[in-house]
Amino acid sequence: MDTLLEFKGIMKQFPGVRALDGITFEVRRGEVHGLVGENGAGKSTLMHILAGVYPPDAGTLVLEGREVRFGDEQHAQTSGIGMVFQERSLVGSLSIAENIFVGRQPVKMLNWVDRKSMNRQAGALLKRVGLDLDATAMVSTLSSIEQQLVEIAKALSLDARILILDEPTATITEIETQILFDLIRDLKEKGISVIYISHRLEELSSICDRVSVLKDGVYQGTRTMAEVSLDEIITMMVGRKILNVYDDRGWKTSEPILQVRNLSSTAFSGVSFDLATREIFGIAGLAGAGRTEIALALFGADPYARGDVTLRGAKVHFRRPEDAINAGIGYLTEDRKAAGLFLELPVAQNIISANLQAFTRRGLVRDRTANDECGGFVARLRINTPSLRQLVMNLSGGNQQKVLLARWLMKNSEILIIDEPTRGVDVGAKNEIYEFIRQMAKDGTSIIAISSELPELLILCDRIMVMCQGRKTGELLHGDATEEKLMHLCAGIPLEEEAARGASDAAFRVGGAT
């Protein structure tokens, strides 16, 4: 395989930080090249430079042996760089075809959009990414993975030779990830190079040929995936070894604190489970399985039609989150930016926001007491912030998540529901968060952990319930649970069948080397 793209000594300085410091490596033709590093390592900055969003301060990009310098995004696009950004870039109220050809729709006379030609070309692109959809369908009607594939079709529409995927699996489930990987393999066969950025390291071994590691803006090296272990990559990223194993706290089934019987709503039906004291209870499932919806129903944020919820032996039916909070239930949202944090408020305000009552005397908030207490949590959770007055939006993903954790720790809820505890969080912070969750369980909190990352549930949970399309498909004790079994239940396939067919099914080998 020959070299398609070289980074040569790329430097980039932002006010106060050296974001990139002499990055040098190459990407070969037709390879999937992983790019990893903790938050703030410089991956996004490097990709933004490659996509023409801003120029490097020093250093050069060499594309097919020729030095290139992109003035703007369009220039990069026409040179064959296709970028799929982490955030969705589609407009829901327009058709797939218009989204793919935004701003450069094929035109007839007088610059009129040639819809026929546009829809035909879009249809061909959709086929190429494995989507069997009408190009005139509105984007708002598509599922998450469909939108992701449309984004890729959009990036490919300019004959991209290099496709940059920034956290492509952040919003899709593991089964859907396999669909994405199939597409990436297809593209690779056609000679397209893919630069693949992900926090989910397990994915690297199943999709990447080589992987490059950045740390604090400095290039750490490139390894051939087949010859390197994930432990090694993690060591390169963080410079220390991380233990990623289930912590046996000696938990035993005990009197349930929360009993859920036959809970049903529009999103799920007939779900029953028990949550025991000090347990970490996992809920696994694909997006749309009804995991988050159950949490919202228990928390009183969404209504449910039927079913009984028993809390400490007494029947309850919360209709407002305030009621659930007062009864000792906390909920950490899966979408911390949209539904959890007040991004433009300081760290301290974010932590005390659910606890204002405790810091109020005669209607006035006692800021000093609140700050003292927040300081304690910041230290305990090792939240990396210059001060309590720092605005939350300036913190990294991991530290933002810790701020949310601190809020509910301060609330000292008896039951805490944590939805996607480590989404968009780097490896180092992930492990810290796992530690805190375990510590909370040890200290007496009962925890429901919802996650689309199966390994995460496996190392955290004492028991795992699996859901598929709104129904409970199984429940496994920690000792019995494996990724294969969980994946089967997630896909709605009973475990007996799996045993008969043999557990070697390649499609379920998601975890790779973990």
């Binding site: 995004e73 969705r88 870039s89 407009v91 610059n111 009607t141 859907e176 749309g288 099914d505």
Partner: protein, 353 residues
């Protein structure tokens, strides 16, 4: 999914997404009801022509406002800009002295061009404030509405009477029973509708309103497009002002109260969304027509005038609420479809489901 469901889906889809069509249906029902209740034919020529003549200004403004709303911004200075266009045209026709500058009476076309030019400059200032300086569109155009409105009043005074007949006939001529302004309005609406639906340049508006960052990254020059859009809005306001002045036979520096809010109301009833990315010109026009027909019906029905704003407010809220409810219900049925469209290479291998 069977055939009847498919048809049902298609109908629901049309009703949700084609606001112009659903408003048209409502109008037909309303007209039929009015005809039955009060005898005669509600949409008789005379009545229809009266309704249309009254909504010319609002309809022309609604076109530009819909462009802006689709792009995720609004313009509160259009009422003032309309007054400015009329006032400048008026003083150019009659001659005057402003800022110590003697203006001699100009020929009609020249006077009109000056009026349109002045309003376009107003729009340009809006555009520059919003796109270059980065002032929020609501604040920028609110401030500009005061500035332009004051300027119009200073220049035009409360009345520039006795405009030349050669100017007035532009709006006071009848063709096939309809006054000319109705034709001007229809031409503008049709052209504007086609531009937004067909032209590549105008399709950009949806992306700017739907996802600003994505529009930028897709190589759309957002700042220039926004500026052009505000200039266009100013030009349309000027046109409306000129047509209105000719219809009245006199110009005025007075801003019509609340016209910008009426126009925004019509655009939202017509399917626009203040969060951007949604709407079309036909919807905006039908929104204006709908509100005006309702108002006329209330007059015919002898309903007290104080009820008018109450009813219009209720309609605005209903339009938005119905939109929310339909989207929720329809959205739910779509999410059940899930992964069916993805070729099940992987799934087939994994589950043989």
């Amino acid at each position: 999914m069977n055939g009847s469901n498919r048809v049902k889906d298609a109908i629901v889809n049309q009703l949700i997404n084609n606001r112009a069509l659903s408003l048209l249906l409502l109008l037909v029902v309303l007209a039929a009801a009015m005809s039955l209740a009060f005898g005669g034919i509600f949409f008789a020529w005379s009545n229809l022509s009266g309704i249309l003549l009254n909504l010319v200004s609002e309809a022309i403004l609604a076109v530009g406002m819909m462009y802006l709303i689709v792009s995720g911004v609004i313009d509160l200075s259009i009422g003032a800009n309309l007054a400015l266009g009329g006032a400048i045209t008026g003083i150019c026709l009659k001659g005057s002295i402003i800022f110590g500058l003697v203006i001699h009476p100009q020929p009609v076309p020249v006077a009109i061009l000056w009026g349109l030019f002045a309003s376009s400059i107003g729009g340009l200032l809006n555009g520059l404030l919003v796109s270059r300086v980065g002032v929020n569109a609501l604040i920028a155009t609110l401030a500009m509405s005061k500035i332009i409105g004051g300027a119009a009043l200073y220049i035009g005074g409360s009345e520039i009477a006795d405009l030349p007949e050669s100017f007035n006939m532009l709006s006071q001529t009848r063709v096939f029973g309809f006054f000319m302004p109705i034709y001007y309005m229809l031409v503008i609406v049709v052209i504007a509708a086609i531009l937004l639906a067909k032209m590549r340049y105008f399709r950009r508006f949806y992306f700017i309103g739907g996802n600003l960052r994505s529009a930028r990254l897709s190589g759309i020059n957002v700042n220039n497009t926004l500026t052009v859009m505000f200039v266009l809005m100013g030009l349309l306001a000027g046109l409306a002002g000129v047509i209105f002045a000719a219809r009245m036979g006199n110009a005025s520096g007075n801003t019509l109260p609340n016209i910008e809010l009426n126009v925004i109301t019509a655009a939202i009833i017509g399917g626009g969304s203040l969060s951007g990315g949604k709407g079309n010109v036909a919807g905006a026009f039908m929104g204006v027509l709908f509100i005006n027909v309702i108002k006329t019906s209330m007059v015919i029905a002898g309903i007290d005038i104080y009820w008018q704003p109450i009813i219009v407010g209720a309609i605005l809220i209903s339009a938005v609420v119905i939109d929310i409810v339909l989207q929720e219900r329809y959205g739910a049925s779509i999410s059940l479809r899930k992964l069916q469209s993805v070729r099940r290479r992987t799934l087939g291998r994994a589950g043989s489901a």
